[in-house]
């Protein structure tokens, strides 16, 4: 049973979604405005937060921005259909994924499961194979899902963590966008989906360049990304 928070100002919709999601195995808390959503998200422990962009008091972006200063809980943004800018803004401030609303509840559940899979603790067997991955100045602790840069812990969303993990596993090799999307985000790449690019861009900002000034994650135009092996 996953405990999640659903923040949407449409009360009727939220009620129906609670019913739908509970049948899919989620325990859903609801909030109908931004302030309440932020309050609940900070005070309680959720495995996932679903944030609608259009909300009274505080909009979804503001909630996410303030939430990210305190918590790295996975967040799925519900953006208005056709507002492509919204989705980019959302990912930029640290959302794990976004969905254009209105959407089929089945699709919503699929996205939720993909995010939850990413943030799930690694199984015992996987942990034993390579608990700690160290490449240059960066250390990835798989058990704790922690990233240390020069022994300093970095905060990142679980999606960013997954993207970094895949890139580090294949450090020195080019990972195609399609491959990265499937392995890190758990979904197929959409041709004009900027999500992956945004996650990589966030990672670059958090990690900075290598000690010798070289770019840490290189863009291989038309193919994908490559983590520079020092």
């Amino acid at each position: 049973m996953y405990r999640i928070l659903l923040a949407d100002d449409d009360v009727e919709l939220a009620e129906m979604l609670v019913e739908y999601l509970s049948k899919e195995g989620f325990e859903v808390d609801t909030a109908h405005d931004g302030k309440a959503a932020l309050d609940k998200a900070v005070r309680n422990h959720y495995e996932l937060v679903i944030l609608d962009v259009m909300m009274p008091e505080l909009n979804g972006f503001d909630v996410l921005r303030q939430l990210r200063t305190r918590s790295q809980v996975p967040v799925l943004m519900l953006t208005a259909r056709g507002e492509d800018v919204d989705s980019i803004v959302g990912l930029e401030i640290g959302a794990d994924d976004y969905l254009a609303k209105p959407c089929n509840p089945r699709v919503l559940v699929a996205h939720m499961r993909a995010i939850l899979r990413r943030s799930e603790p690694v199984t015992e067997t996987a942990r034993s194979t390579a608990d700690i991955l160290t490449i240059g100045d960066i250390e990835l602790q798989r058990g704790a899902r922690r990233v240390l840069l020069n022994s300093q812990p970095l905060t990142m969303t679980s999606t960013e963590y997954r993207v970094l993990e895949v890139l580090l596993q294949d450090a020195g090799q080019v990972v195609s966008k399609k491959d990265l999307s499937e392995r890190a985000l758990g979904r197929e790449l959409n041709p004009y989906d900027r999500g992956l690019d945004m996650h990589v861009s966030n990672l670059r900002k958090k990690l900075g360049p290598l000690a010798d000034g070289e770019e840490r994650i290189k863009t291989i135009r038309g193919i994908g990304y490559q983590y520079t092996r020092p």
Binding site: D10, K101, N104, R106, Y192
Partner: protein
């Protein structure tokens, strides 16, 4: 003088009067000055010089050279200089005015009178007088060089422009300055208006001009006020349009979102008697959802004037979209193939360009016959350098020739039979057209031997 009409009229009129008046005044002043010198006992320095020069010629005895010099002097000077002999005739046979004849005769009489006193000492006698009063002696004949001040006419002055060149030039410069200032005064606010209009056209609706017009009150300021009013109206209109769009989209989406969840709940319950109808409702809901999305993107594209661009590898983008579309097309025994491609980086908006290409390709899939492929060509434009062409060709029924333009308009239907199975062109091509327009490109349709080609021309920017 509030009106621009009167400003222009009066200032041009004044400038003309000023110039004509100044010219007249300068010339008449000159004439006046010259004539007054007749009474002046002190002859002009010029006259003394000329007498000296004439005497030099006379001493050398070269009468022809003297005549030549005299003719040149006449052409140069506004005042006629006459060389008059004892009988009152000019050396160049020019008519001699009576007053000069009399003066020469008077001089001669006085001279003869003096002469009678002392016949022997001719030279001595002459030394009593200043040199310019002494006659010039040519071949024994005695001549006097006399400036004929009274014969200075306007015609003579104007035929010798050197004489009054400087004052006229000054008058021209002053009037040029006046006209320049006037022209500046008239055109400065017009170019300000033009700038504002250009900015307004490129989407900056906050442009206002009245404030920059200063304290003037004329037609231009009225135009500026009208411009501001227009910009105001335009801004309100576009803002209310956008507001309506936002509100409508929100309002349309909310019930649709609820409908989808309600449908999901019904499907979860899994009542086998209604499962087929529920699936049908789901399909139609998706279609409605897609349509609302398209309608909103088209509406947004219509209000967009500028797009954000970034360098995009067009060949890769096209391949990604084609692969994606092929995957879906294969479900209905159709395919999408890239026949020709080449590496191109194009400065463009990824979202808009993708949606244009995707709409055109999906449209082609919808119309191409079963077991055929949609063929895509990406190549250099053979007519325009630095342009590329993307051709998307289907093997379908094509369209009536007269509809080649109109299929890019929203909700245009080609034929009854066709639409029932395909759902019509809807908004896809309208969105594609608008997106391509925003990139400065062109989109057109052409019937092939079998099927239809959508042809997209795009400029490749260097950056």
């Amino acid at each position: 003088m509030k009106s621009l009409f009167w400003k222009i009229f009066v200032s041009f009129w004044l400038a003309l009067i000023l110039f004509a008046g100044l010219t007249l005044w300068v010339t008449s002043h000159y004439l006046e000055k010259v004539r007054n010198e007749t009474s002046n006992t002190q002859p002009r320095i010029n006259t003394i010089n000329y007498i000296r020069q004439a005497r030099d010629f006379a001493h050398s005895g070269n009468v022809e050279a003297l005549r030549h010099w005299l003719r040149q002097l006449d052409q140069r000077e506004a005042i006629p200089y006459l060389l008059i002999d004892e009988k009152g005739n000019d050396l160049l046979k020019r008519p001699v005015p009576l007053y000069l004849q009399q003066r020469v005769l008077r001089k001669e009489r006085r001279y003869r009178h003096d002469d009678d006193d002392d016949d022997d000492d001719d030279d001595d006698e002459h030394k009593h007088r200043p040199p310019h009063h002494r006659p010039i002696i040519i071949n024994g004949q005695r001549y006097h060089l006399m400036p004929d001040f009274r014969s200075v006419t306007l015609n003579r002055v104007l035929n010798r422009p050197r004489v009054i060149a400087i004052p006229i030039l000054l008058a021209a410069l002053i009037s040029a300055l006046v006209c320049l200032l006037l022209a500046r005064y008239l055109t400065a606010p017009i170019s300000r208006l033009r700038q504002a209009t250009q900015k307004l056209a490129s989407g900056d609706l906050n442009q206002r001009v009245s404030a920059s017009m200063g304290s003037r009150k004329d037609e231009i300021v009225e135009l500026a006020n009208d411009f501001d009013h227009m910009a105001e109206q335009l801004q309100t209109l576009i803002e209310s349009h956008k507001q309506l769009l936002r509100d409508a989209s929100h309002e349309l989406r909310s019930p649709l979102a609820r409908l989808q969840v309600a449908l999901g709940l019904a499907q979860q319950r899994g009542d086998s008697t209604t499962i087929r109808e529920l699936d049908r409702i789901e399909r139609e809901t998706e279609r409605l959802n897609e349509l609302i999305g398209q309608l909103l993107s088209l509406a947004r594209l219509e209000t967009l004037a500028e797009i954000e661009r970034e360098p995009i590898a067009l060949d890769t983008l096209l391949k990604d979209i084609a692969d994606d579309a092929a995957y879906e097309a294969q479900a209905s025994n159709r395919d999408v193939k890239i026949i020709h491609s080449m590496p191109v980086v194009i400065n463009s908006n990824r979202v808009l360009l993708s949606s244009a290409l995707e709409n055109a390709i999906r449209n082609a899939i919808r119309y191409t016959a079963e077991n055929t492929s949609v063929e895509i060509f990406l190549q250099n434009d053979s007519e325009k350098s630095n342009w590329i062409v993307i051709k998307i060709r289907d093997h379908g029924p094509g369209i009536p020739e007269e509809m080649r333009e109109s299929i890019f308009e929203p909700f245009v239907r080609v034929g009854e039979a066709r639409d029932r199975q395909s759902g019509g062109y809807g908004l896809g091509l309208a969105i594609a057209k608008r997106a391509i327009d925003l990139h400065g490109g062109e989109i057109s349709a052409a019937n092939e031997d079998e099927g239809l080609s959508i042809i997209i021309h795009l400029p490749v920017n260097d950056s």
